[in-house]
């Protein structure tokens, strides 16, 4: 933890060195993807594998943008509202799941269906959301840019950095709390945990709220940064799986895992696409797929997982939660 503050300060200084725009852009994208991935891993590491986190990105982004375009409500207020709404939806979906013991693959598929419903609704309610053509938040003159949260790349770098630090802080706080012990016990054996007085549903809901809130925050900031929202890139199966891939490849048991995963997946996608250029289209996803398979086989705990394991190889933590089943 003591490295964190200097690290954040160092990262905050990056825009002052005036790096190329493209890299700041990738940096912002990585940070926001990392926020979503960190959120996902909050649930994932306790065995709550969601394939529908895209839904919460979408709810966050569209709530914020609709409030701004229709009611003129600044994103500074709109984002907290959007995050709250996403967390509420998360609870509405999570509560019956947890009460009725929908777990493992069943839980994954329920969230997948929920994610698809959100995507289809955004597309079908095109009168309000712009449908698949997408929508753009209304721009304001430069002197009101701050109130409307319309910054340049550097501004969003700082904002994204703040959100990212917030995600890590939430992770750290959760790890310190009794809740994390309870959750670890639950993911180990739900019945046993309940029998020693752990309130299973409540603990799971707590982590769901944090997780969906972070996803919504990432979605809203991504939309505001791009000044564009569309259902394909902010809801549905594609983006949901992308978040999961990043978190797993980086390592979902370590706080920095999803961040490393975001760097790897986005770096790979950009690198492969540019390297293959426009002549061997199809080569990029081919290699990407192979690398993912290799990652899963040879680095099952993710990249950061390897490092972590070496560090505390002697004292195993309280049982490694197994994701599903």
């Amino acid at each position: 933890m003591r490295y964190v503050i200097p690290l954040l300060l160092a990262l905050a200084c990056i825009p002052l060195l005036s790096p190329p725009d493209y890299f700041i852009h990738l940096g912002v994208t990585v940070l926001l993807t990392a926020v979503a991935g960190t959120g996902w891993a909050m649930m994932g590491r306790y065995g709550l594998v969601s394939f529908g986190h895209g839904a919460f990105l979408g709810i966050g982004a569209y709530t914020m943008a609709l409030l701004w375009n229709m009611a003129g409500l600044s994103p500074w207020i709109g984002i907290p509202v959007a995050v709250g709404l996403a967390a509420l939806v998360g609870v509405m979906l999570g509560y019956p799941c947890f009460r009725l013991k929908v777990v493992g693959h069943y839980f994954a598929l329920v969230t997948l269906a929920a994610g698809e419903i959100v995507r289809i609704l955004i597309t079908a309610l095109r009168e309000h959301t712009g449908g698949s053509l997408g929508m753009t938040p209304d721009r304001v003159p430069a002197d009101q840019a701050f109130l409307a949260m319309q910054f340049d790349k550097a501004g969003f770098w700082w904002l994204a950095l703040l959100a990212w630090a917030g995600g890590l802080l939430a992770w750290w706080l959760l790890d310190r709390s009794m809740a994390s012990k309870a959750l670890a016990a639950i993911s180990e054996d739900e019945e046993a945990a309940a029998s020693i007085g752990i309130r299973v549903t409540r603990e799971k809901l707590r982590v769901t709220v944090i997780s969906t809130a972070l996803a919504a925050l990432a979605g809203a900031l991504t939309a505001q940064y791009r000044m564009y929202l569309n259902p394909e890139s902010l809801a549905g199966l594609g983006i949901s799986l992308q978040i999961v891939f990043g978190a797993i490849a980086g390592g979902m048991y370590a706080p920095l895992g999803p961040t490393v995963g975001a760097i790897i997946t986005i770096g790979l996608e950009e690198g492969l696409r540019i390297a293959f250029g426009t002549e061997f289209t199809g080569g990029a996803p081919l290699i990407y797929g192979i690398l993912l398979v290799l990652f899963m086989i040879y680095l099952p705990r993710g990249i950061v997982g390897i490092v972590e394991r070496k560090r505390r190889s002697a004292a195993a933590p309280l049982g490694l939660p197994v994701a599903a089943k």
Binding site: P96, Y106, P285
Partner: protein, 284 residues
């Protein structure tokens, strides 16, 4: 009864026949190997390309192309098991699922490289049938019958062969395997091959209705997974019946509402079903 509504219901049942085969294959693999093949729809896609290639490019007769498609995809299923699933048998389920998800990208990329991104189609059609006031597509009816036939053959295989019995035993109780003196690896391989062959059969039925392109799996992939889960993962009969239920919901939902909202209704129904029966609609 409104003949148009009746037609929508009939179409829903026929559509269920289309979903039923992949649902059956996925459930078989899951029941035996305990792994979800996230790339199952992409295996079907490869099978569709195989039929298209043999029929239109090499000029094979259609039945022969269909016949060749099954072993091709079965082989693919075996390869998938040996190269990807086997090293991960002891890994957490999420890793298994995502590894097969990597294969999804791999297959889409490979097909893009080999066959480009053009939409391909067979250009064969069967005459429609008019029964009273409703129309029934000959192609879909044939597909429906083939799905039933495929299911029946699979049932006979599971019921009357030794390997089939072993597979059923394992699907019901994993622990029993070593006690029976069966080599689990061999059973896994056989199940993967049969699961692949079912994907191949599904490909034959779909290729006469849909254009082939590298992303065609998106058309029926997600809903197939939901059908499996709705029927109860590993529960082959449950998945088979759930396919028809889902087909009718999509069809009638689209008839009363709009085509887009029919999927909202279907997915919503799925979620509610799982809340009501967390182990699937037909859980024992």
């Amino acid at each position: 009864m409104d003949p148009f509504l009746l037609e929508a219901i009939v179409n829903g049942i026929l559509l269920g026949g289309v979903f039923a085969l992949p649902a059956l294959g996925l459930n078989l693999v899951f029941g035996v190997v305990d792994v979800v093949w996230l790339c199952y729809a992409e295996l079907v896609m490869v099978g569709m390309y195989a039929v298209w290639f043999l029929y239109t490019q090499l000029g094979w007769p259609l039945p022969l192309a269909f016949g060749a498609c099954l072993p091709v995809v079965a082989l693919l299923g075996v390869l998938l098991h040996l190269l990807v699933v086997r090293p991960l048998l002891a890994a957490p389920p999420i890793n298994q699922v995502l590894a097969t998800g990597g294969v999804l990208f791999l297959l889409q990329g490979a097909m893009t490289l080999i066959f480009r991104t053009d939409f391909r189609s067979l250009g064969v059609d069967m005459p429609p049938m008019e029964v009273g006031e409703i129309f029934v597509s000959g192609t879909k009816l044939a597909a429906f019958c083939a799905a039933l036939l495929g299911a029946a053959v699979l049932w006979a295989f599971l019921k009357f062969t030794y390997v089939g019995t072993a597979i059923r035993a394992i699907a019901r109780d994993r622990e029993v395997m070593p006690l029976m003196g069966v080599d689990p690896q061999r059973i896994y391989l056989i199940a993967s091959a049969v699961g692949g062959a079912l994907a191949g059969l599904a490909a034959c039925l779909l290729v006469v209705q849909l254009d082939v392109h590298p992303f065609v799996g998106l058309s029926f992939g997600p809903i197939t997974f939901m059908i499996c889960v709705m029927g109860g993962l590993g529960n082959m009969l449950g998945g088979f019946l759930a396919a028809f239920l889902m087909g009718i919901i999509v069809s009638v939902g689209g008839f009363w509402g709009t085509t887009e909202f029919s999927y909202v209704v279907a997915f919503g129904f799925f979620i509610v079903t799982i809340f009501a029966r967390p182990r699937g609609l037909f859980a024992r």
